[in-house]
Symmetry: C3
């Protein structure tokens, strides 16, 4: 058995803490779809895993799109008539609309307000806004502060640059026993927002770290890319490799207190969809599997009709369904270690299922094999109920006809795909379900 | 786009009233499966649409059946001993059993009662009875009147004729851009019964009228035929044309206050079945789609196994499920303008769906096209929820792979197939859902 | 029509009583998977049906198994220090663990207890235990008696023999009009346990008896075999015949007061599965159809992947779900005549469905045939509801297109597959549903 969870050395209780630590380090950096913030982010990830960093020049044509100019920012503020910085990029990088062009001038309150964004319903929070594809500038601030702005002259200053440069992304390829690939993708383009998507970056980083040393049937490709333009760029430049992707998922928003949600691939019945359904069903009522829809994250691109890849999306509360989404309240208090660890454990369990989900053929298909003389069956007959271990054996023997995968058998029998990997918070549930059965009885098919 | 609802000039609020007006004109006429009443009815319909009237001779063999003799009636009554007409055909044509042979004689109460039909459970109503295929005579009357009949001598008189003649039906063929046909069929054989089926005649008449001037992808065939023998006759004489029928429905009982009911074709998954399910689901809780069963109206013949046409049946309360059914209580008070208008609007919406339900292929299938630079997407990113208009675009782009019709996409996305056509009573619900998308992005497939 | 229930001469009210009488005769016999008890049992069954008795030598290889040595027992007891038999095989054959090797020695209480089995939760009942495939000896007794055993010297005596001999099973083959077979199988290996499986033996016996004289489309094969090793042996020695089995079921535990349960074959959609579902659905709420699982009775072998036969299992409360299961409480009071009769009636109804479930083709497929002139349809039209008899005709005519069986039509129409066969306890429900229709209209297909 490749990829035995027992081979994995890291203590799962520590993974949630390590994820949180990485999120804390990445939090202050001002990221966007291009620029120094992305490079800084990827360099911090490189402390854990040997990411390759790719630089794609501005102006590169990628399908219907063009790699944009690179945006960088050094400083930005709004000053009042007394020269005080009343809105300061150094206090929160959310204050500046992403991809704002440079500006330095005096403006009236009226002109200023045309460039301000607030959240009237959450008057203490700063919204997150961008203007990637239309040259513009703007500031975001709390609605409370906005309401108190007086009629006076203001100075606006954005020391940014929007120039030919590069789109930067990170990639880690772990060669497995086969060239069939599992794709795990997270977006790296958001500034100081923890759940969306430092949590996804952290989960992908530690999945890669934990998988590096173990035996893997599949090869794994981890992508740390800017949203939308990043996946489009990668798909365009790597179109020849796309056929190797057999399973995959996007990771985003995996640290909030909401229940785990898996959004199925466009196919809806891909093996990755079944594996997530199996693992989340077993995890109990606080999980949900939802149908694909063509909005959300980079699954939009992976699942565009010309690719239609078996790629879903693992998250907790879906984007836009929690008030903190895309605001300054998506901060280091909003994401919490137990939820990060729980999301991590579910992702790892799914990979374990995928790795071990083979199709067996019972070489003794006519009547049951005599399990008793192999020590695999109760010796004193007549007892009232078969043990679940024996039931698992009987199910595998009965359905191992070359047309059912182990996951099919697990689903039909209602027996969990052994073993579970749970963070300590998961409590004392014991491992049960399928255990290895005599090698002489079943062998991999074809 | 062919058949845009916006091209349709008639004010929908007036259609219900026009339907009711036509029903009122047709109500007094004594119809049967043959005879002058049918011709008179079709001539009144011809005031609205250029119906072709076909006359098929009695004795014509049509599959397992034979076109019957033509029945006409001038007068009929039961007289009491004092010579008073106590039951008079001139007061209600329901008083005479349809296809009664001529009779004029004195009878005892006992003999009379062998020829009388009443509704003991609804003692004030006159039932509707026929005896098409067995020569007989009879009268229908209220049970209350029947109970008061005294022992005396009665005179019965039916001045009818049952002679070789013709079966008469009306047909209107509207040539469309293709020879593929939509069949709309209603039965014309019932005497003074408003819901069954003057309502269906009126709906078919005004559908034909409203569709005549508009651009139509499909050709439309409207049949105004006597029930059972009429559809059998048409199918037999037009067997070569049957393959052109791609969609169709029978219209009956569409003016009563019950909820709208669509009975699926025998196939159960024809496009017409999906279109009705889509339109009725959108119309809310007061609608129902039911499975096919081999009883009811002419869908029995269209869906016989040798034809198995994609023809369902639009109605409101199904036949036999309302006490007024086939009684004198199915009158001008039972059918009402708002229900007629509502049924009309649903039928028209279904035709709009059918007309516009094409299969597109996204010519930019690899990753999403950049909608933003085409002005089709929000310019300031990071907002909390995509607009439904954008969602509709994204769904079409995602599923326009040549294997999903627009109706499939509408059903999967949960977005209504734009636009809705509602009578004024439908209130203020706005049109939303799919709107035209950039021509450069999708084009009809194949 | 072959196999008309009306041809069956036995009074159904008597069958339950006859089944109970046979159970009473078989109850005292000590059966096991081999030995004289099985032969004695089969000889009693032979009084009703002409069973062929097969003897298969010990040591015969049957797939992965070997026919075991033959076990016989003459006497067994535990004696106390005063020479009293405190546990006596002559009082209940459950007292001895099945397949116990001979033993005669003095033992301490401690050594004795290593060979004793009790049911602490049901302290008055004797459990049923066997040790077929591991040489061993033991006694079963009530927990109450076990608790009172004192520290003294005991004598254990088992006068058994475990020697080369034969595995014995009974078989009855009833030749039908075709060589296609229905397999009905019951296990004969349990000692004094009434529901499991003297009830199954009795049901199979009287089914065979009642079917012998009637015209049968199918051939029937009844097997009276020891559980597991018996079906494995039969399948191995008769592998060439297995392809003739078109339908089948195992019968077990059909006399307890629980609701009827049918466990589907591994295929899940075999005709036998649909027939049981149809009959049990009609029988009302006290019935259940459950999915296949690879545990239970000989359906495990018939449904092993190398055979995958359309064989389900008819029972009442499933094994292990009632406390009396495999204990001395599964006695002559636990099984009752009405439940035996009810199970019998359901099995017979299912066979009636299978026998008569043909596929017809409507020779008049284009429009309905004119039923009226054949006297098959109401003559006075306009009545409010069609009769169910006419509905059945219309359904058959509509769906008899060569691709629907009568059972398919019955299921789709919601009309019961005529006629019902009920024990008197079933009350006064009348027969309805499908009746024969005019021969000129439909005929068997292909």
């Amino acid at each position: 058995m490749s990829f035995a969870l027992s081979e994995i050395g890291l203590n799962p209780s520590e993974i949630g803490q390590e994820m949180y630590r990485l999120i804390s380090e990445l939090y202050p950096i001002c990221r966007s779809i291009t620029g120094e913030g992305v490079r800084q982010t990827l360099r911090l990830v490189q402390r854990h895993i040997p990411l390759t960093i790719h630089e794609i020049p501005s102006g590169t044509k990628v399908f219907d799109w063009t790699v944009p100019k690179e945006w960088n920012i050094r400083d930005a503020y709004i000053g009042n008539a007394r020269g005080e910085r009343i809105v300061d990029f150094n206090k929160s990088n959310l204050h500046v609309v992403g991809y704002s062009v440079p500006v330095k001038k005096k403006v009236s309150l009226q002109e200023l307000k045309e460039h301000l964004f607030t959240l009237p319903d959450c008057p203490d929070w700063i919204p997150y806004r961008t203007s990637y594809y239309k040259e513009s500038w703007g500031f975001c601030l709390s609605h409370r502060q906005w309401s108190n702005l007086r009629e006076e002259e203001y100075e606006v200053c954005i020391e940014s640059s929007l120039e030919d440069g590069h789109l930067t992304y990170g990639e880690l390829y772990l060669q497995g026993e086969t060239t069939d690939e599992v794709l795990i993708s997270c977006h790296t383009c958001h500034p100081s927002l923890c759940n969306d998507n430092l949590s996804g970056i952290a989960l992908a980083t530690f999945l890669a770290k934990i998988l590096s040393p173990v035996r893997r049937r599949y090869s794994y490709r981890f992508l740390f890319i800017p949203g939308t333009i990043g996946s489009i760029t990668w798909l365009c430049l790597n179109e020849a490799k796309v056929g190797q992707i057999k399973h995959g998922f996007v990771v985003t928003g995996v640290g909030d207190p909401g229940k785990s949600v898996y959004k199925k691939s466009r196919r809806g019945d891909a093996e990755i969809d079944k594996a997530f359904a199996h693992v989340l069903k077993d995890a109990g009522g606080d999980c949900e599997v939802i149908d694909f829809f063509p909005y959300g994250y980079d699954e939009r691109q992976y699942c565009s009709p010309g690719f239609n890849l078996p790629v879903g999306c693992l998250m907790r509360t879906p984007h836009g369904r929690y008030p903190e989404y895309h605001t300054s309240a998506d901060n280091l208090e909003f994401v919490q270690t137990p939820y990060l660890a729980d999301s991590f454990a579910k992702a790892l369990s799914v990979l374990h299922v995928i790795e071990n989900n083979k199709t067996y053929r019972n070489l003794n298909p006519k009547c049951e094999p005599q399990l008793g003389r192999r020590g695999l069956y109760e010796m004193i007959g007549g007892q009232q109920e078969a043990k679940s271990r024996e039931m698992a054996m009987l199910w595998v023997l009965n359905l191992a006809d070359g047309s059912h995968t182990l996951l099919d058998i697990a689903d039909r029998s209602g027996i969990y795909f052994h073993p579970r990997y749970r963070p300590p918070a998961g409590g004392t549930r014991t491992l049960n379900g399928l255990r290895p059965i005599a090698g002489s009885v079943v062998q991999p098919h074809g």
